[in-house]
Symmetry: C2
Subunit: 141 residues, 2 copies
């Protein structure tokens, strides 16, 4: 690894590439989003627009909160709402050239961080797990 | 902090005490567990028995998976199942006297780690967030 101080290290090797990231589109209906969330097993996934830019993130809790009011969950009501209408826009983002220190700081309050290139296109994500693996390696040596 | 090497440091100051931890009992019905999970906002919480020992953990996904087969989610079906019948027994545990290195290693694959005393009673939990805050402080100095 190129740099003695871990905070300045590059993040490229920590990134899960966009082709391996479960995600949904902002304009998708909620029943589609719930299906992706259940099938992937992830608590929350990134929301992209049609130009592959990160718009936010959505979790199972957000999808279910919109319809849990009634006695039973009406699956057909899910189809009437869009991801955009319930997603959270507060998703951490950083640039592919930012350093490990920035990824570590953002991961304190977020289970994953979205990575963008210079044009703002989605490159992939860095998880707390990847940060912790790197930290563990650093402390071991 | 008592020790120069972070891996040997004590974990006491990182623990969220049991009185602040949302949890459920193994014998509780699932509708009660879903209520605790939704109200607390947490993805997963520890499952304890009547002697305050950790039996496992349960997530919203596990509760919903048991009833999502049908066209609509029948809330009354939730009452017929217990937490014990769907919870995951694979929950990381460590002793209150174990060091930071052990907490870091366990947090790589688990969002939280349950802390027990010498008699096996639940003391509280350590989250990935608390580990990352400590790591960030160490790298800053
Ligand atoms: N299929 C699986 N196999 C093995 N371990 C699994 C797993 N699913 C979850 N885990 C473990 O559980 C942790 C929490 O997952 P969660 O889905 O709540 O939270 C995840 C999820 O919301 C998101 N995420 C991770 N990988 C993703 C991917 N390929 N696509 C979309 N979102 C992803 O990032 C969060 C943090 O991920 P991280 O790996 O740090 O932490 C993961 C990982 O340690
Ligand atoms: N009310 C809130 N206020 C501020 N930030 C919040 C929050 N709820 C969640 N977060 C943030 O989201 C992260 C993931 O929460 P999650 O509920 O998936 O996953 C949580 C949850 O399953 C469990 N957990 C945390 N605190 C708990 C508590 N007091 N009782 C029971 N379980 C808890 O440990 C996991 C990891 O927690 P961690 O703090 O590392 O990581 C948290 C924290 O950074």
């Amino acid at each position: 690894l190129k740099n003695t101080n871990i905070m300045n290290q590059e993040i490229a090797e920590l990134i899960i590439g966009h082709e391996k990231v479960a995600h949904v589109q902002a304009a998708n209906p909620l029943d589609h989003a719930l299906l992706i969330l259940i099938k992937s097993g992830y608590t929350a996934v990134p929301v992209l627009d049609t130009h592959y830019r990160v718009q936010g993130q959505i979790s199972k809790a957000q999808v279910l909160d919109t319809i849990l009011g009634t006695e039973r969950i009406e699956m057909d009501k899910l189809h009437e709402h869009t991801v955009e209408s319930v997603m959270s826009e507060k998703v951490p983002k950083m640039n592919v050239d930012d350093n490990f220190g920035k990824a570590l700081t953002l991961s304190i309050n977020h289970p994953f961080v979205c990575i963008e290139d210079d044009e703002g296109a989605f490159v992939g994500l860095i998880t707390r797990r990847a940060i912790l693996v790197m930290v563990h390696r650093e402390f071991q040596s």
